[in-house]
């Protein structure tokens, strides 16, 4: 048996592979559902509430509909000589506001037809309507943004967020998870090909690990609370109802702000600790060209120092993505501080887009650090990794430690 023959193979992890297959199946269903939702044409909002009339005395309000009362009242908007409240002019009985009371209640019927009917303009209404355009003037009222009359781009923003980013973001997250589940099912875990040596080397010290987990748990909480806000309408309202959704979203909005300081602190400590070893080098190209040896069980992976190209990409996603998320998030916390309404709208879209991408990327990071690779979790959990794991994935780093004599303490 040569040195290069794997002792442990990825496909031997049967339990993990079955788990991966089950996860892949569930994710496939969710993914198909999202794709259907993305192309499901009709996305107009519909009325959910209905007004009916009750009379002040007796119960003869049922024969009058709410619209009639308000239509009668609208006649008062006409020239004074025609309708009240000028003396002598005729005041429609329904319009006096002392006899009928309007009660608002939840609508039973489907309101979609109403929206469709409202959207259809008759020629006269269309003729008198001014074209959609951005209109900003001045206002004597001392409020931020009081000078705004009209910004039709609000409707585009709605399509950007409600109909585009949320669906595409969900597809990115679900699609990447599906890919990973399929890899686990078909390929199995990345093994320590030579098996465990029983001897360990120190990989991360206490500060590095504590800081990693502080940042990681903050990121997970930020992601979960963000998901409640972005996808609560699907994930929480449909199974648990509006009240649960409202309460959970309120808690989430506060928790989201609460985990921003530890995330920021962790990210900056991370930059101080790891940037030097994550600068790109020539080795990274060779590593990326062979995908880090990911798809083969051979122990002969492309050589890497302490961090390989994949880990460097994760580091730079965390740093660049994290800094961008902090910058956009802080901007959104202070309306009008430096950004006006239009800029804030874009900042919000960037925040939402990056958030979904980062969640997808870090699902990949969590995967490869846990179920995806045998022995990887111990690097960040206990701080010591198996010698054979180090040799297979970070051979140059191991040699570096050996020349320094730093491995003597290990195992």
């Amino acid at each position: 048996m040569t040195d290069q023959t794997p002792v442990v193979r990825g496909r031997d992890f049967t339990g993990y592979r079955i788990g991966g297959a089950i996860a892949a199946l569930l994710l496939l269903v969710a993914m198909v559902w999202q794709v259907v939702a993305l192309f499901d044409g009709e996305t107009v909002t519909v009325p959910e509430s209905h007004w009916r009339v009750s009379a002040a005395q007796g119960d003869y309000g049922a024969e009058v509909i709410a619209g009639e009362v308000l239509e009668a009242r609208t006649r008062f908007m006409d020239e004074r000589f025609r309708t009240g409240p000028s003396p002598g002019a005729e005041a429609p009985e329904l319009a006096r506001g002392d006899r009928y009371f309007l009660i608002e209640e939840r609508m039973e019927a489907e309101g979609r037809d109403l929206t469709r009917a409202w959207l259809t303009a008759d020629a006269r209404a269309l003729e008198m309507s001014r074209p959609s355009e951005r209109v900003i003037g001045i206002s004597s009222l001392p409020y931020p943004n009081a000078e705004l009359f009209e910004r039709p781009e609000g409707r585009d923003w709605r399509f950007g967020l409600a109909d585009f980013i949320t669906h595409l973001g969900a597809i990115a997250i679900l699609g990447f998870s599906l890919l990973l589940a399929l890899i686990l099912a078909l390929r199995g875990r990345v093994p320590i090909a030579k098996g465990r040596s029983g001897r360990t080397v120190k990989r991360f010290n206490f500060l590095e690990r504590a800081n990693h987990w502080m940042t990681a748990s903050s990121f997970i909480m930020l992601a979960l609370t963000g998901i409640v806000i972005a996808y609560g309408d699907t994930l929480i309202r449909i199974p648990f109802g509006e009240e649960a959704q409202g309460t959970l979203a309120l808690w989430s909005s506060w928790t989201h702000a609460l985990f921003f300081p530890p995330f920021t602190l962790g990210l900056f400590v991370m930059i101080l600790l790891w940037t030097w070893r994550n600068l790109p080098s020539r080795l990274d190209l060779a590593w990326l060209a062979r995908a880090g040896g990911f798809f083969s069980d051979d122990p002969d992976n492309p050589p890497a120092r302490k961090f390989n190209a994949g880990q460097k990409l994760i580091f730079w996603s965390a740093v660049l993505g994290g800094v961008a998320m902090i910058a956009t998030g802080v901007t959104l916390m202070f309306p009008y501080f430096w950004a006006d309404l239009e800029v804030m709208g874009w900042v919000m879209l960037v925040h939402a887009t990056l958030a979904t991408l980062l969640i997808a990327i870090f699902i990949g990071h969590i995967y490869i650090g846990t179920v995806g690779m045998q022995g990887a979790i111990w690097a960040m959990w206990g701080g010591k990794v198996d010698r054979n794991w180090a040799e297979e994935h970070h051979v140059l780093w191991l040699k570096e430690l050996e020349t320094r004599g730093a491995t003597a303490r290990g195992g």
Binding site: G111, R130, F149, D233
Partner: protein, 198 residues
């Protein structure tokens, strides 16, 4: 079929701000927030116009579509209402609104915006009609009494029209024909006919 709308006749609006003032007073709108404003365009130049603006109670309302907590909802007469109990102050409606209607108190710590406030078409909110709780959260409920928004009913030049869209449209058109000019219904296409090409 009644569909409630707002229409501001820019040729009649004299920027007296009575609508903005009466609205703040009627609903006891807190400091820092305003449900109705008057915007003046081309100030000091020929063609200067003033237009009163608030929530237009849009058809296919973008704020309702983006709201993540089902806070915003529309009634069968077209009025867009909000439920302060479920609002989390995320600000999505504020980015989606074509008329700058949603307002935030900015009274809480840590940059949280507090609960959104906007024009209710004088129709209160989901609380019981005329209750103390409804008044505290949303202001007076005039629609429940069969009356129209106070901003329009108080307008001294009858520039600001509120009520059934077809009826106020008719009043406006007749006026334009009578006096021979009119700059049109401001904001109507964005608010009510977004799918129609100009």
């Amino acid at each position: 079929m009644t569909r409630l709308k707002f229409l501001c006749d820019a040729e009649r609006c004299i920027e007296c701000n009575a609508c903005a003032t009466v609205c703040k007073n009627e609903h006891e709108v807190p400091w820092g927030m305003v449900r109705r404003r008057v915007v003046t365009i081309n100030d000091g130049e020929p063609g200067e116009k003033s237009i009163a603006v608030s929530c237009m109670h849009c058809t296919d309302a973008p704020c309702v579509a983006v709201c993540p907590t089902s806070t915003l909802y529309q009634t069968d007469l077209g009025v867009v209402l909000h439920d302060k109990d479920t609002c989390i102050g995320c600000g999505y409606c504020f980015y989606a609104c074509p008329f700058g209607a949603p307002q935030y108190p900015q009274e809480t710590l840590f940059g949280s915006r507090g609960k959104m406030d906007k024009c209710t078409y004088c129709a209160g909110g989901p609380e019981e009609n005329g209750s103390e709780a409804e008044f505290r959260k949303y202001g007076r409920n005039r629609i429940a009494e069969g009356k129209l928004p106070i901003c329009a009913e108080v307008c001294s030049t009858r520039a600001l029209l509120a009520g059934d869209g077809e009826t106020i449209g008719e009043i406006y058109r007749e006026r334009v024909i009578h006096r021979g000019f009119g700059s049109g219904a401001w904001g109507w296409k964005t608010a009510y006919y977004p799918e129609q090409d100009t």
